[in-house]
C-alpha cells in the first residue's frame, strides 16, 4: 500500500503553519516538522522548559548543557529568542497563547479525544510531562501518527481505550494515509494518499468518514 513517508507527513504539517505562528512541537514524530518549516517564514518555536525562538541543534562541540529542549537534547536560540520560568511557559500553553501544537498519539477518537501519554499497562511507569497542558491549551491541536497499529488496527477509534490526555481537543489528524479534520459533525477527510481508494480508507479506519479528498 502507498503511504506518506514520515518526512512527507512532516512537510504536510509544516505547510499548514503560517508566518508569525507560535508553535510547540511534541516529542517524537512531531520534531521532524521543524526541518520542513519554510525559511522565509518567521515561525516561533516554543519549548516547555522555557524557550521561545528555539533554533536547530548546535554544531558538534557547541552543545551547552544549560540550553536544551523538552526532550532534553541540546538546541540553540535564534536572535530575538528568550528564556522564562516554568509557570510563565505553561501560562503560554494553558492560556491559549500558542497557535499550534503538534503531538504524537496512540489514539484519537471520532470526537477528537486524544490518548498519548500512557498505555495503561500495569507495569508501565506513567509519565505525562506537558502533554495535557498542550492538548487543552493550544489554539489548534494537530496530531501526527501512523494510521494503523503494527497489527493493523485503526488508531482513529470510536472511543479511546488508552487513558485520555484531553477531551475533544484534536483539530486535525495527519497520518501516513490521509489528512482528516475533526469537525462538530464528524471526521472529514481532506487529503488521501495517492493510490488509495476512499472506500479502502473507510474500511481500514472503521469509523464514519466523509469528504471528497484530493490525492495528496
Amino acid at each position: 500500500m502507498q503511504r506518506f513517508s514520515r518526512e512527507q507527513m512532516a512537510a504536510r504539517v509544516a505547510h499548514d503553519i503560517p508566518e508569525g505562528a507560535y508553535v510547540n512541537l511534541g516529542i517524537g514524530l512531531p520534531t521532524l516538522v521543524a526541518n520542513h518549516l519554510p525559511r522565509d517564514r518567521d515561525i516561533f518555536l516554543h519549548s516547555e522548559n522555557g524557550v521561545l525562538g528555539m533554533g536547530p541543534a548546535p554544531s558538534p562541540g557547541d552543545e551547552d548543557p544549560d540550553l536544551i529542549n523538552a526532550s532534553k537534547q541540546p538546541v540553540t536560540l535564534l536572535p530575538g529568542g528568550c528564556y522564562f520560568h516554568h509557570a510563565d511557559s505553561f501560562a503560554m500553553m494553558r492560556g491559549g497563547h500558542l497557535d499550534f501544537c503538534v503531538l504524537g498519539a496512540f489514539q484519537v477518537s471520532v470526537t477528537g479525544d486524544l490518548a498519548n501519554w500512557h498505555t495503561g499497562a500495569k507495569d508501565a511507569i506513567p509519565a505525562v510531562g506537558g502533554a495535557m497542558d498542550l492538548a487543552i491549551g493550544a489554539k489548534h491541536v494537530l496530531v501526527m501518527m501512523e494510521h494503523l497499529t503494527k497489527s493493523g488496527a485503526s488508531k482513529i477509534v470510536p472511543c479511546c481505550t488508552y487513558p485520555i490526555t484531553g477531551l475533544a481537543c484534536v483539530d486535525r489528524i495527519f497520518t501516513d494515509l490521509a489528512v482528516i479534520d475533526v469537525t462538530p459533525t464528524g471526521l472529514e477527510v481532506v487529503e488521501i494518499v495517492a493510490g488509495l481508494e476512499f472506500d479502502e480508507l473507510r474500511r481500514l479506519t472503521g469509523v464514519p468518514l466523509r469528504g471528497a479528498p484530493a490525492p495528496g
Partner: protein, 231 residues
C-alpha cells in the same frame, strides 16, 4: 549587615531533617543543584518528599538521593526516562510513592504556594485519570479541575549568579522551576556559580528577588553535570 552566603553546601543543608518536603530545581540535568543534593545525602535525612519535574537521571543528583533510599515520595510530571533506573527500581519494588502531576499543574501549584493562593481551577487534566476524585466546576461553559498548592520546607535550586542579599540570575534553560520554587519554600537554598558584590546584578535583570532566597552557596565547579536522557 545581611549576608546570606554560606561557606559550604554542608552548612547550607544541615537543618534539613527526616520527613521534610524538599523542592529540587532542574529540568532533567539543566539547573539541578548537584552540590546541594550531595550535601543532603551526606547529611543523612530520610523519608523525604521530593518535588521535581523528573525522578533523576543517571547516578548523580536526585537519582543518587533515590538510590540511597532517602525518598519516601516524589511529586513529579515525567519520572520515566532512559536513565531513570534508580527511580524505576524503587517504584517497581514499591519503595517509593509517586504523585504524577501534569507539568503545568505542577508549575502552577508551586507558583500558587509562593503567591498565597489557596487553590485554583485549571482546565488541564479534566476528564483524565490524573483528575480522578478531584473537585470540578464549569466556568463559562468550560470544565476545570480544582488543584491545591504545593508548599515545601526547603527548596534547593541552581542559579548562575547571586549576591549576599539572595538576588539571583539564571542561565538559559537552567532557570526552569527555580523562580517558582524559590517563593514556595519556607527556606530556599541557592547553589550559584558565582557570588558577586551587592549592586553588581542589574536590578532590571534580577529574576529572583532576594526576599525569596535564604541561603546562597558558591560552587567552584560547573553547575551542570551531563547525563543522558530522552525525555
Amino acid at each position: 549587615m545581611i549576608d546570606k552566603t554560606l561557606a559550604s553546601p554542608a552548612a547550607a543543608v544541615t537543618d534539613i531533617g527526616d520527613a521534610a518536603t524538599v523542592m529540587i530545581g532542574g529540568f532533567g540535568t539543566a539547573g539541578m543543584p548537584y552540590a546541594l543534593i550531595d550535601a543532603l545525602i551526606d547529611a543523612g535525612a530520610r523519608d523525604l518528599t521530593i518535588v521535581n519535574n523528573n525522578a533523576g537521571n543517571g547516578d548523580v543528583g536526585l537519582a543518587a538521593l533515590i538510590r540511597e533510599k532517602r525518598v519516601r515520595k516524589i511529586i513529579c510530571s515525567f519520572p520515566r526516562q532512559v536513565d531513570s533506573q534508580h527511580f524505576d527500581t524503587a517504584w517497581r519494588a514499591r519503595e517509593i510513592e509517586l504523585e504524577l502531576v501534569p507539568q503545568g499543574n505542577l508549575a502552577e501549584r508551586i507558583r500558587a504556594a509562593g503567591a498565597g493562593i489557596g487553590a485554583f481551577f485549571t482546565p488541564t487534566g479534566y476528564g483524565t485519570a490524573l483528575a480522578e476524585g478531584k473537585e470540578t466546576r464549569v466556568i463559562d461553559g468550560r470544565h476545570y479541575v480544582l488543584e491545591y498548592p504545593i508548599h515545601a520546607d526547603f527548596a534547593l535550586i541552581g542559579a548562575d549568579r547571586g549576591d549576599r542579599w539572595g538576588n539571583l540570575v539564571y542561565r538559559k534553560t537552567a532557570r526552569n522551576f527555580g523562580p517558582v520554587m524559590a517563593a514556595a519554600a519556607r527556606c530556599t537554598i541557592a547553589q550559584v556559580r558565582e557570588i558577586v558584590p551587592l549592586g553588581t546584578l542589574d536590578p532590571e535583570h534580577i529574576v529572583t528577588p532576594g526576599i525569596f532566597v535564604h541561603r546562597v552557596v558558591a560552587i567552584d565547579a560547573p553547575v551542570v553535570r551531563r547525563a543522558r536522557a530522552d525525555a
